[in-house]
């Protein structure tokens, strides 16, 4: 009996090692390549590793009045505006969708989902022609507006789910004790909703930081965000510069991944009602 | 059909001993009820027989074959789950046919067996329904049919009736018993309901903290409980603890002014449990002179409750013990009365 068990154990162990190797290579391989390139100064085929390592391209990107730093600040500023405006309109909308007897509620929710559930590119193309007529193509305002469309999905849906998950009796209890409706919202509901709202803000921030297509059509060539800069570098086979920016754009995502781990339980996503 | 033998089965979860050296034999065609409070390990026992729990030590032999580490799908056991676990996306027919399809039987044979099973549990005509369209009792029958149709070596019933109304529960209890005898299938029946266990089983095993406290025929266990826990679990309402006294005649305890002898292995001053069942005490009246078969003692009616067919009295003895006694007599609250009980029906541990 133990012999059979031991053989089975070994077979399972070997299988696991094979899966770890393949999966690890498949997942980390492409990222590792980008990471290596960002520290490479010379890397010619067929050397397994760069012939010359160095921080030259990182230094180029991060010191002095570099194009990369300008783009970074621009990207972050746009993302912060998008988060602020997005939350400002989504919190009332999410609260109403969760608590009020709004007519056509299902249709409204689907409408807010559409930007993610339908190809976006034609919308951005037409947005750019509309903005061109309005003279806001190639401006920060135009790009911010483009980012807002896509993030509205996350902000409205996540805030709705968050408010739905807070029992209404908690508000009722406050009103029962003499608080006003508005007071109960700000004192009771909003603090309880904070984790969900933060999750929503993080989603919106990352989405805006990484947004390419809308920026490309509405903002180019005047608005140079980090993704646009990276795309230009990569298309021009400037592998080191592109890789440096790619890493810079990946770090916030990975940091937030750790934070979001609390919110991103598979069951939670299911709870969003998708 | 096969004999099931369980030898030294042990399973621990961290600090908790779910099964502690359990030894059992279920004969071919026997229905064994495994009885115990929640957390006693009865679920772990049945789940390790089905293969969903890997025991830390011990063996499970089914028809002489060691299945301790066999995969669940290779064991040929059939389990009826507490929640029935009828697949919601399949009709009654698909649920019942599933196990047969896995066994690669011919379509004719599948049809024949399904008809047999539907007839067996009296469900003909409901084949096309989905589980959610059935009543609890009907769902239970489907679960039973699904388990029996694959011709298992052993049937495992995990609290099969606990989700049903009392009325349906009584009826299904007898139906299961009849079915089991007709098919002569080795069966383990898990329950926390002592009445269910005693009424349905050929043999009863009482489990607590993963240990077998007592095993035997229902009558045997009921009339000779090994300790106060068994006695209490099998439906005694009264467990009184008192200290052992000693005089020239030997060890004793006092109850309602009556002297009850205590077994000699006890020490004076040690605690003993006196167990008396609520329905085995006669209220009022005097015991004939020279009757050594009964014990007579006295108490005061403290409170009473009307239960329909009878009344439940709370009696307080002079020692300050309180007893619950069922009787069909009507007695005023506050009255002092005599109580009479068979000597064999007072259990002292």
């Amino acid at each position: 009996m133990t012999g059979v068990k031991a053989t089975k154990w070994w077979r399972a162990m070997i299988l696991k090692l094979v899966i770890i190797t393949i999966l690890g290579f498949a997942i980390f391989g492409p990222l590792a390549g980008t990471l290596l390139w960002s520290f490479a100064i010379k890397w010619y085929w067929p050397s397994a590793l760069p012939q010359e390592f160095g921080l030259k391209y990182w230094a180029n990107a991060l010191t002095g009045r570099s194009q990369v730093l300008d783009a970074l600040w621009l990207s972050i500023s746009i993302a912060l505006i998008v988060v602020a405006v997005g939350l400002l309109v989504s919190i009332p909308a999410g609260y109403a969708l969760a608590r009020f007897d709004v007519p056509w509620k299902k249709v409204l929710l689907v409408l807010f989902l559409m930007p993610q559930a339908f190809p976006q590119l034609p919308v951005f193309i037409n947005m750019s022609s509309i903005f061109y007529r309005l003279n806001i193509a190639g401006t920060v305002a135009g790009v911010t507006a483009a980012h807002l469309v896509v993030s509205l999905v996350y902000s409205v849906w996540i805030t709705t789910a968050t408010f739905k998950s807070i029992p209404e009796v908690l508000e009722d209890a406050a009103i029962n004790l003499g608080a006003s409706r508005v007071g109960a919202f700000f004192k009771i509901t909003l603090p309880l909703a904070a984790p969900g709202l933060i999750a929503s803000a993080i989603f919106v921030f990352l989405n805006s930081l990484d947004e390419f297509t809308g920026t490309f059509f509405v903002g180019a060539p005047y608005i140079q965000t980090l993704p646009i800069l990276m795309y230009t570098a990569s298309m021009g086979y400037n592998m080191q510069a592109a890789s440096v920016i790619a890493i810079m754009l990946t770090i916030p995502s990975l940091v937030f991944m750790a934070i979001l781990e609390r919110f991103l339980k598979a069951e939670y996503i299911r709870g969003l009602g998708v | 059909m096969a004999t099931l033998e369980i030898q030294g089965l042990t399973k621990t979860y961290g600090q908790l001993k779910a099964l502690d050296n359990v030894n059992l034999t279920v004969q071919e065609g026997e229905l064994m009820a495994v009885l115990g409070p929640s957390g006693s390990g009865k679920s772990t026992l049945v789940r390790s027989i089905a293969g969903f729990v890997a025991p830390d030590a011990g063996h499970i032999l089914l028809g002489g074959r060691d299945i301790t580490f066999e995969r669940p799908e290779k064991r040929n056991t059939a389990m009826v789950f507490q929640s029935y676990a009828l697949w919601p996306h399949m009709t009654v027919l698909q649920n019942i046919t599933y196990g047969l399809k896995l066994r690669r039987l011919s379509p004719e044979e599948i049809a024949r067996k399904v008809e047999w099973a539907l007839d067996l549990v009296d469900l003909s005509g409901l084949e096309g329904r989905y589980p959610r369209q059935l009543s609890g009792g009907q769902q239970q029958r489907v679960a039973l049919a699904r388990a029996l149709v694959v011709d298992p070596e052993i049937l495992l019933l995990d609290e099969p009736l606990s989700n049903l109304d009392a009325k349906i529960r009584y009826r299904l209890r007898f139906e299961i018993k009849k079915l089991q005898k007709r098919l002569n299938i080795t069966t383990i029946y898990i329950t926390h309901d002592q009445e269910e266990a005693l009424s349905i089983a050929d043999s009863v095993v009482l489990l607590k903290d993963g240990k077998v406290l007592q095993a035997g025929r229902p009558e045997e266990i009921y009339s000779n409980p090994k300790n106060s826990f068994v006695a209490e679990f099998l439906g005694a309402s009264n467990v009184i603890t008192d200290l052992v006294l000693q005089d020239r005649e030997g060890l004793y305890v006092m109850l309602g002014g009556a002297r009850l002898p205590v077994p000699a292995y006890k020490q004076p001053g040690e605690e003993v449990s006196i167990v008396i069942r609520a329905d085995e005490v006669e209220l009022g009246g005097e015991m004939p002179e020279g009757d050594h078969e009964h014990v007579s003692f006295s108490g005061k009616v403290n409170d009473q409750m009307y239960l329909g067919s009878r009344r439940r009295y709370e009696i307080e003895t002079v020692e300050g013990h309180s007893l619950l006694i069922d009787s069909d007599r009507e007695l005023p609250t506050g009255s002092v009365i005599r109580l009479c009980v068979d000597r064999d029906k007072i259990y002292i541990y």
Binding site: I27, V102, F112, F118, M127, E267 | E73, H89
Partner: protein, 294 residues
């Protein structure tokens, strides 16, 4: 596990709210609409208006109002349309197999390593996936570097700049979300359903196919539709790792605008991509409904 119960309770309280009199916190539609209005206005101006305009403009060309743009789109890009649908369906099929396999494995076994690693691509933006795959899959990329050392063959064809690279990149980026959603659905299937099937002699593979997948049908559907839409609509990955010919429809759309300044045909291609999404979602939905009814 906790969330659905909470949601249920919340929806119950929403129903109660509807029946409340106005002086006890009744929540009628009008103030609710006012609260939604800013978000809705934003959506209407920034999304629905351009969306409708893309449909309207697809019928407008130099030749006036008509189907001229569509005629041109089909004559120029029929191959690309078929290519796009083919690549998307192939990626979808691979995503389905991988995510069901991982979700199925994790439903039966605890493996924190796998549970952590599979989510990583979820947090890497499309653009960076495109760039990384460009580096990784190029003829002289990292993958070939390693493969040629193992096999000893000095020059291997690169996967990038072809259909292989496209499919790998799409799958790499898309399978984590599908896995996350499907695993969530699998985990909310009661243990006893699985155990009942194993008990009757079913293998784990069959349990996944015959018990877990059908019970999780709606979520699997959502996962697949989301995957399909973001694959067919993605511009960056085909720009960075696609072949020069044939190309995916988003690239055609983008080139039509940036190089030819031809908005009509670009919009026609856009509407065609809407139609592809709707048709495929419809067929998939119908298929799922039939499966469930059978």
């Amino acid at each position: 596990m906790k969330t659905p119960a909470l949601m249920q309770r919340a929806s119950l309280s929403a129903q109660q709210a509807m029946r409340r009199p106005p002086w006890a916190g009744g929540r009628s539609g009008l103030p609710g609409m006012l609260l939604i209005l800013p978000a809705l206005a934003m959506l209407a101006a920034l999304y629905i208006y351009p969306l409708l305009s893309s449909i309207v403009m697809s019928f407008v060309s130099d030749a006036g109002v008509g189907l001229e743009n569509y005629r041109k789109a089909f004559s120029l890009y029929l191959i690309d349309m078929l290519y796009t649908v083919g690549i998307t369906i192939l990626s979808l099929a691979i995503v389905f197999v991988i995510s069901v396999a991982i979700a199925g494995y994790l439903r039966f076994n605890r493996w924190p390593f796998l549970n952590f690693v599979y989510r990583l691509p979820l947090f890497i933006p499309f653009l960076i996936v495109g760039h990384s795959m460009r580096v990784f899959l190029a003829p002289h990329g990292i993958l070939n570097l390693i493969l040629s050392r193992i096999t000893g063959i000095p020059e291997l064809p690169g996967l990038a700049f072809g259909w292989g690279g496209l499919v790998i990149s799409y799958v790499w980026k898309q399978f984590p979300l599908a896995t996350l959603l499907i695993l969530g659905a699998f985990q909310s299937v009661e243990d006893s359903y699985i155990e009942a099937a194993l008990n009757l002699g079913s293998s784990r593979l069959r349990v996944i196919r015959e018990i877990l997948l059908p019970i999780s049908g709606p979520t699997v559907l959502v996962a697949m539709v989301l995957t399909f839409v973001s694959t067919i609509g993605c511009l960056t990955i085909p720009l960075l790792v696609g072949a020069p010919k044939p190309v995916m429809l988003p690239v055609d759309m983008s080139f039509r605008v940036t190089y030819f300044n031809d908005w009509g045909v670009a919009n026609a291609l856009g509407v065609i991509s809407y139609v592809i999404v709707i048709v495929l979602a419809y067929y998939y939905l119908k298929h799922m409904v039939r499966e469930e009814g059978a």
